[in-house]
Amino acid sequence: MSALIAAATPTTTWYLVLAAVLFGIGTVGVLVRRNPLVMFMCIELMLNAVNLTFVALAKRLGDIGGQTTVFFVMVVAAAEVVVGLGIIVSIMRKRPGANVDDISALKG
């Protein structure tokens, strides 16, 4: 049993599949949750899945560019969170306990 365990090394594919699963979970979360902050968090999940993919592939392909990309993704994610939370704050300030479905002014 331990030999079997020792023999099976996680290949890049495993990491990629894991990232795909995490991405899927994040997508479902964005679609299902109504609290804007939780939706944002699910987006962060998706970003992390992408980062994992890049890093795994960087190792596999031996290219540092993958890690550079992750670097930039993190920077931009941070900026995005700042702006996004700012927007949420300014919209949700007046309506305590609101959820995303209430912001439907664009209903046609």
Partner: protein, 637 residues
């Protein structure tokens, strides 16, 4: 003088414009005098042109005066041009001659009417249109006049338009005429298509030289005959003429006795070469319809009680005779009868107008009687007209009717027999009318209060301005027969005069049994006429036999009612059906497109929920779709 033939239609047109502008200023009776003078002037010019044409040889009697080029479009060149040849001048002579007499009469008849000047406005416009019709050099100018007389007929029939029956009658006349006008238009299209020209010279030349095929010629002739049926009140389009008696009596005399209704006969004569090269069943149909109409109308006239309706049906009947002549190839006889009929029918109508005027607008013959004592001149002239139409020699009607029946016999003895029966009936009902109106006991005192007459009602003679035309027309009815006496070639003035126009189409019956025995037929005609008069005398004067006036004949064999029932019943349903199709299918299709777009828009609008999550879901679905596509492309393919 020939250069002035444009004056012939121009003078009535000038009268029309002057009365249009100054009619109210002129008032009564100056407007009437102006109108009468214009038509009289036209008559004078026509007489001048007539004499000038007489001075020319037979071949030269064909003068065209072009006013201006009217329609120069592509290969169609139509000029507004006038043609002065024997036929058109003959027509113009009696149109302007009888027209001016009737204008004179109308000055007296319409005395006191509020719309006096308007009447003469329309009358002058009518004379102008009629002259354009007869003097036209091509089918288009004739059609202009054709439509013009139809319109003026509408105006004049519904002149007293506050009376519902008059307004309806005017509309009926116009609509029925329009049905016929379709035929004329089709004929014009056919003629242009086949010969490339609309002028009579061109069309007739094509017919004479054989350039026109028999099929086309038949088409043109039949289409024009349809138009003639409408204008000249033959079966099945005669229904407007009896109702047209709603108009004032001068209108009935001018339009519906002498001029407009003869336009159909004129047109058929104009294109006689075309008719003569058509299939032989075409003239036969014309003759059959003519004689059938004659008989049909004569039977109805026997049972009418309105003095003008008798004359209306009599007109339809006599027009039938003219078409019988045309169908038998007897164009000269047709024109001859047209001229004599114009004389005596106008006389009869004007006479009846005088009676109506004297009876304070009573028109029912059952309420008249013994008027010859109180209205002597009217009675005398009316009797002259009666003898003329009954076919008693030497009055005009006898000679013309006999000529027609001669040619009819040559074509088919059956036509002759039917024509003879009609002649018998003509004599019968006209005698009936004369007896009921002028002889017998005076029945006007029994019902005088109903008519709004005051106290001691006594019919009176009409003023001189109305009696003078009666006398002139009576004189013409007596001597008119001299135009074409059948004795020998020298006495056939009309035939020699009209020769250049009809020689190609005129049937030659010399050598037939009819021609050889024409004196026998002459005597038969006289006997028939006298028999009709005698029987009528026995029925209505001596009361030896009961009068046969069944309701079915009085109601015109329910033909009119049949048409209105058909149109009101199944006809209306058909029209409603078509309206339904138009509204539901055509409009529905157009509106349906709008509704479809609206519906689609409304459906798509539901996608705009305004909720972020549904947009996110849409994005997600798009991502899945893209992934599928990439997967399929990259891996499967």
């Amino acid at each position: 003088m020939l250069d002035l033939i444009w004056l012939i239609p121009a003078l009535p047109l000038a009268g029309f414009i002057l009365i249009l502008l100054f009619g109210r200023l002129l008032g009564e009776p100056k407007a009437g005098i102006l109108a009468a003078l214009m038509v009289a002037g036209s008559f004078a010019v026509t007489v001048g042109v007539f004499f000038e044409l007489l001075s020319k040889t037979t071949e030269e009697r064909h003068h065209v005066l072009k006013a201006f080029s009217w329609v120069p479009i592509g290969s169609l060149h139509v000029d507004l041009a006038f043609l002065a040849d024997p036929l058109s001048i003959t027509m113009a002579l009696f149109v302007t001659g009888i027209g001016s007499l009737i204008h004179l009469y109308a000055i007296g008849y319409m005395h006191g009417d509020l719309k006096f000047s308007k009447f003469f406005l329309y009358l002058n416009l009518f004379v102008f249109s009629m002259l354009m019709l007869v003097m036209g050099e091509n089918l288009l100018v004739t059609f202009l006049g054709w439509e013009g007389v139809g319109t003026c007929s509408y105006f004049l029939i519904s002149f007293w338009h506050t009376r519902e029956s008059a307004a309806t009658a005017g509309k009926k006349a116009f609509v029925t005429n329009r049905v016929g006008d379709w035929g004329v238009m089709m004929a014009m299209f056919l003629a242009f298509g086949a010969t490339g020209t609309l002028s009579y010279a061109g069309i007739n030349h094509a017919a004479e030289s054989g350039a026109l095929s028999a099929v086309t010629a038949t088409g043109i002739a039949m289409m024009l005959f349809i138009g003639a049926c409408g204008k000249s009140a033959q079966l099945p389009l005669y229904i407007w003429l009896p109702d047209a008696m709603e108009g004032p009596t001068p209108v009935s005399a001018l339009i519906h006795a002498a001029t407009m209704v003869t336009a159909g006969v004129f047109l058929m004569t104009r294109i006689s070469p075309v008719l003569s090269i058509a299939y032989s069943w075409a003239p036969t149909i014309i003759a059959v319809i003519g004689v059938a109409t004659a008989l049909f109308a004569a039977t109805i006239a026997v049972a009418q009680t309105d003095i003008k309706k008798v004359l209306a049906y009599s007109t339809v009947s006599q027009l039938g005779f003219m078409f019988l002549a045309i169908g038998s190839g007897a164009y000269v006889a047709a024109i001859f009868h047209m001229v004599t009929h114009a004389f005596f029918k106008a006389l009869l109508f004007l006479g009846s107008g005088s009676v109506i005027h004297g009876m304070h607008h009573e028109q029912d013959m059952r309420k008249m009687g013994a008027l010859r004592v109180l209205m002597p001149i009217t009675a005398l002239t009316f009797i002259v007209g009666w003898l003329a139409i009954a076919g008693v020699p030497p009055f005009a009607g006898f000679w013309s009717k006999d000529e027609i029946l001669l040619f009819a016999f040559a074509k088919s003895p059956i036509l002759y027999v039917v024509g003879m029966i009609t002649a018998l009936l003509t004599a019968y009902y006209m005698t009936r009318q004369v007896i009921m109106v002028f002889f017998g006991e005076a029945r006007w005192n029994d019902h005088s209060e109903e008519n709004g007459a005051h106290g001691d009602f006594k019919p009176h003679e009409s003023p001189k301005v109305m009696l003078a035309p009666l006398v002139v027309l009576a004189g013409l009815s007596i001597v008119g027969g001299a135009l074409q006496l059948p004795f020998n070639h020298n006495t056939k003035f009309l035939e020699k005069w009209l020769e250049p126009v009809i020689e190609f189409g005129e049937k030659d019956i010399s050598g037939t049994w009819a021609d050889n025995n024409k004196y026998i037929l002459l005597i038969v005609a006289i006997v028939v006429a006298l028999t009709g008069i005698a029987v009528s005398y026995l029925v209505y004067s001596k009361k030896k036999f009961a009068a046969i006036e069944p309701n079915v004949m009085a109601q015109g064999w329910f033909y009119d009612k049949g048409i209105s029932n058909f149109m009101g019943g199944p006809g209306r349903k058909a029209f409603d059906g078509i309206t339904w199709v138009d509204r539901t299918i055509v409009d529905g299709a157009v509106n349906g497109v709008g509704k479809l777009v609206q519906g689609a828009g409304g459906f798509l609008r539901k996608g705009q929920t305004g909720a972020v999550r549904s947009y996110a879901a849409a994005v997600g679905l798009g991502v899945v779709a893209l992934l599928v596509w990439f997967f399929v492309r990259g891996v499967v393919l």
